[in-house]
């Protein structure tokens, strides 16, 4: 089974070596691909110097466009499962086996690593959790999926769903939208308990103004997605 780990990286010069070396040394059974989203720091120079497997976007597309590049690459190269992990070392690859298990067994098409099931490890700030819970509510409303860690970037998708994501994926803040998109198109989404760490170096891309934009954009996007996919879903059920 061919498995690809997609690592979107934007200005991750302090973390990327540690993250990728860990994968190469301890998890050689998985292939990996770093997607450098036109970083302004020396991320690309590091990738090149270390001879890592990477692609480098010539323009900054944001997390959605970067991850989608990875999905396109996975689809083109015939990967059976595509996994996404953050480039800042928050996600422990030791959990990948557990994460992909439902997909390998054919019980799910998409799995999301959630830190809120066993409530172990880094639980993030109160405000962030509030936002995550609000989006959790909207997702349940839109498609009935019970995802606990809705913004988690630690996730895996089956071959078929990866091909779907390669064609269509949200531009910015794509994580919650991808859940609803997958579910509305008839894919099974499953939560898997994982532990997350606090980022060790660099800075997170979340700030106050962006949070406000996030909390407005994401619910609206989810509702629009729900409105737009209703017909498709009915057709599928009718078959």
């Amino acid at each position: 089974m061919k498995i690809l780990i997609i690592i979107p990286a934007y200005n991750e010069q302090e973390n990327i070596e540690r993250v990728v070396d860990n994968l190469i040394n301890n998890f050689p059974q998985y292939d990996y691909l770093v997607v450098n989203d036109c970083s302004k720091d020396s991320t690309e120079a590091i990738l090149k110097a270390r001879g890592y497997n990477y692609i480098s976007l010539p323009a900054n597309l944001g997390i959605g466009g970067a991850v989608q590049s990875g999905y396109i690459y996975a689809a083109q190269n015939g990967y059976d499962i595509a996994i996404q992990i953050d480039g800042d070392g928050q996600h422990d690859p030791a959990y990948i086996e557990k994460l992909i298990e439902p997909i390998v067994k054919g019980e799910a098409d998409m799995t999301i690593g959630s830190r809120f099931i066993e409530k172990k490890g880094f639980q993030t700030s109160f405000l962030r959790r509030l936002g995550i819970n609000l989006i959790r509510f909207v997702i349940r409303l839109c498609c009935g999926v019970k995802a606990t860690d809705t913004t988690s970037g630690f996730r895996a998708s089956s071959k078929e769903l990866t091909a779907h994501f390669a064609r269509e994926y949200a531009f910015d803040y794509p994580e919650p939208e991808a859940i609803v998109y997958a579910s509305l198109n008839g894919y099974r989404v499953k939560d898997v308990a994982v532990e997350m760490k606090e980022r060790e170096g660099g800075t997170s891309s979340i700030n106050a103004l962006r949070s406000i934009y996030y909390m407005i954009k994401v619910p609206v996007a989810l509702i629009i997605l729900r409105l737009g996919t209703r017909k498709k879903r009915k057709k599928k059920e009718g078959k």
Binding site: L57, P58, L61, G65
Partner: protein, 128 residues
């Protein structure tokens, strides 16, 4: 109330200049006809309306607008709304294509890079 002659001529000149500039841009291919068709249409409507203001007055009486100027503002605002919507749609579509291009280019760049590395390896072997 008839339009004062000086104002009438002034308006005709304004609209004519706009029309000619538009035409010149189109001829010089600085504007894509696909996206400027709406401008061409608007300028022709303006030209007709300014040369024969009776048409506007007649149209106003038909729908019950008392001041023809209000009708002109109303039509202009609707026109701008439609135009801005169109532009947003065009930008969204272009955005999608830029994304696709960027992603495809990045993946191709990786393949070229790897081929070049292999070629360099082969060359160095031949050199020995």
């Amino acid at each position: 109330m008839p339009l004062p002659l000086a104002l009438h001529i002034f308006l005709i000149v304004c609209v004519s200049i706009f029309f000619l500039v538009l035409l010149r841009y189109l001829v010089k291919r600085k504007l894509n006809l696909k996206y400027s068709l709406i401008w061409l249409l608007a300028s022709i409507v303006m030209l007709v309306g300014v040369i024969f203001p009776q048409i506007i007055v007649w149209l106003c009486s038909l729908v019950g607008i008392q001041t023809p100027a209000n009708a002109a503002f109303f039509v202009a605002i609707i026109f701008l709304f439609v135009l801005v919507m169109m532009l947003t749609a065009i930008v969204s579509h272009m955005n999608l294509r830029v994304y696709r291009n960027t992603q495809t280019q990045a993946i191709l760049e990786k393949r070229v890079r790897e081929l070049e590395d292999k070629l360099a390896e082969l060359d160095s072997k031949d050199g020995k």
